[in-house]
Symmetry: C2
Subunit: 393 residues, 2 copies
Amino acid sequence: MLRVRALDAVGRILARDVTALVDVPPFDRAVVDGYAVRSRDTVSASPSSPVLLRLVKTRRVGPGEAVEVATGDPLPEGADAVVMYEHTSKAGPDIIEVFQPVPPFGNVSRRGEDVQRGQVIFRKGHIVTRLDVALLASSGNIEVEVYDISVALVCTGDEIFDIDKVSNLEELERLYLEGKVLNTTRLVLEHFLQQFGVKVHYVGAVPDDEQEIATIVDKCVEKHDMVIVTGGTALGKRDVTVRAVSKLKPKFMWTGLCIRPGRPSGIAILRGKPVLLLSGFPAAAVAGLLSVGKLVLEHLIDAKLELSLISGIVTRRVAKPPHLRAFVRAYACVDRNSGEIRIEPLAVTGSGLLTTLTRGNVLIEIPELEEGIDENMRVIAYLLGKVYYCQEQ
Amino acid sequence: MLRVRALDAVGRILARDVTALVDVPPFDRAVVDGYAVRSRDTVSASPSSPVLLRLVKTRRVGPGEAVEVATGDPLPEGADAVVMYEHTSKAGPDIIEVFQPVPPFGNVSRRGEDVQRGQVIFRKGHIVTRLDVALLASSGNIEVEVYDISVALVCTGDEIFDIDKVSNLEELERLYLEGKVLNTTRLVLEHFLQQFGVKVHYVGAVPDDEQEIATIVDKCVEKHDMVIVTGGTALGKRDVTVRAVSKLKPKFMWTGLCIRPGRPSGIAILRGKPVLLLSGFPAAAVAGLLSVGKLVLEHLIDAKLELSLISGIVTRRVAKPPHLRAFVRAYACVDRNSGEIRIEPLAVTGSGLLTTLTRGNVLIEIPELEEGIDENMRVIAYLLGKVYYCQEQ
């Protein structure tokens, strides 16, 4: 837990419910330009028989008086309403005519109208945006408490290399010719973890060496709240990550998850810290993160991490085997004719495909006991990106 | 225009269409663990009469041979398919039995399957996410060209103060008692401008002084691509911003916009640079930014800035006067029973209300010639925040 200034809380998880410490607005204020008046003085006003009021320059409005105010000004003492310029005219240097009655608190934004002192404005677990800072600060929350969750990310694999290591296209092509693979899983996981409001420390690309992986995971457990290891998490003979973590004698460990993609996911508890094992493939790693990683993070913050949702009509059938939870990447767009959101499941042959993550702006989760989704069915899915109008075919 | 490394492009606007410079994946690769084979060698395989293949350790698969591969490995030369471990068994140290035929390119992700060289992967005007970096870099775009649009933000008003100036609740309360107002418009505009991918330079809170505002705007026009001035933009006598900007002899200037909120919006062209005048109230400033500011930015980048959309059913009627474009803040959530998105217009008395911007996650734009929106009507709205399940009533 960390106490930070409201602006520094942007992108972080609130560690407590936040209540307003003052009323917003803190005083009654004018919402138009005009004259602050006592509404009862205007009751008989009409275009043919205007009410005459004396214009004063004090901070107090007495019977038969008016004070000029601009939008946003605090209401002067004694006044309970504001008459717009449009409903008045000047009848002399210090006299105005009012042509319409104004009800009590007409054209006034009342103290506490936006938020009342003591009211909960954000719940624990909420991830702060810059927009929220305006409300936090206005309501007296100059500082707030946020979680300081730090996640270490270790990507394993003899074949992977990082984008930072490449300075031009020729270098990239040379690495590709050697059969090397760009570590995209790191970028994809960083994207999602940041959206969850946690700080990610990318440790680096580590070769498929049991001892080396074990040493690094062991160090990371010391320094971070959670460790994520990607790659080598299946049970094949080249999957050294599982063996490396087992070697550290976790208190608890299981591997293999009934999700698709993401079967080679797992979790271990090492000295009280969660170690999440995720597939080396981007889409599979995301599915594992959303299934298990999210639960672990929720446990660490003792609050729900809500993903943004969208609802729409699926354009084609997707089947799946039973007893398996499927995460289907799909593309949502707004149909100009029907106004409805169309959700088009993307064809995938492997969990390594990147375009299904970048083009796919939604993720449909199909629970274990369902057989799939039917064409024209309404589904609620996770919203991962922006939604635009559909391109006409 | 600026050439930056793909990772540094996050949050910025692409200045050109981006095409893939290499195939993704760059080679045919295995999508399962197993044995790379020539598919025609497996045609006659069955559980009762398995095909025997010789296991070799070379990078080439000849007739009757197989090479062990892990998920993600490049397919060895000569092979065109991968048999999963599950469909094989070891019949000797160098011999495997295959129990099922595998079709050509079975369990293989083909070169260029994700993206083909030359294919457009992102359009000019797209705002880069960290997820996109994975595809940019994989496809050979180690560097990309982004716009380097810098917007100066000047907030005017004797009454406003900045959050940075306040260190505790007591100070805030003292300022409130003096009738001062926290400059929330700055935070709200920064939020939206960042989402548009532009860099915002907040110049500070400037008093209502015609000469001072003119001097600052003049300086900002020199250094930035666009200047936004908030507050004092109506035509009341305390609205000095309009007079300050007029004084600088703009080539073109108009003020007052038929939108609600946001009527006191305007634009001027000073030495070829756009100067946008926006209301000092947060919601009105946002409406002005989305109506005029967005068009100006689109002109500067010569591309569309698409806002994310949502579609749902409105829960109550909203009327508006004709010949006025209205921006209605609303709260969208997913109804657990119907699965539909419900959009509830928020009651507002003034454009100063902050909760309608923080609680309101969507903005409905009602065009000039429409009279409003009806209950149970489907609307397409701008999505400004996250969408969750509705709280049960």
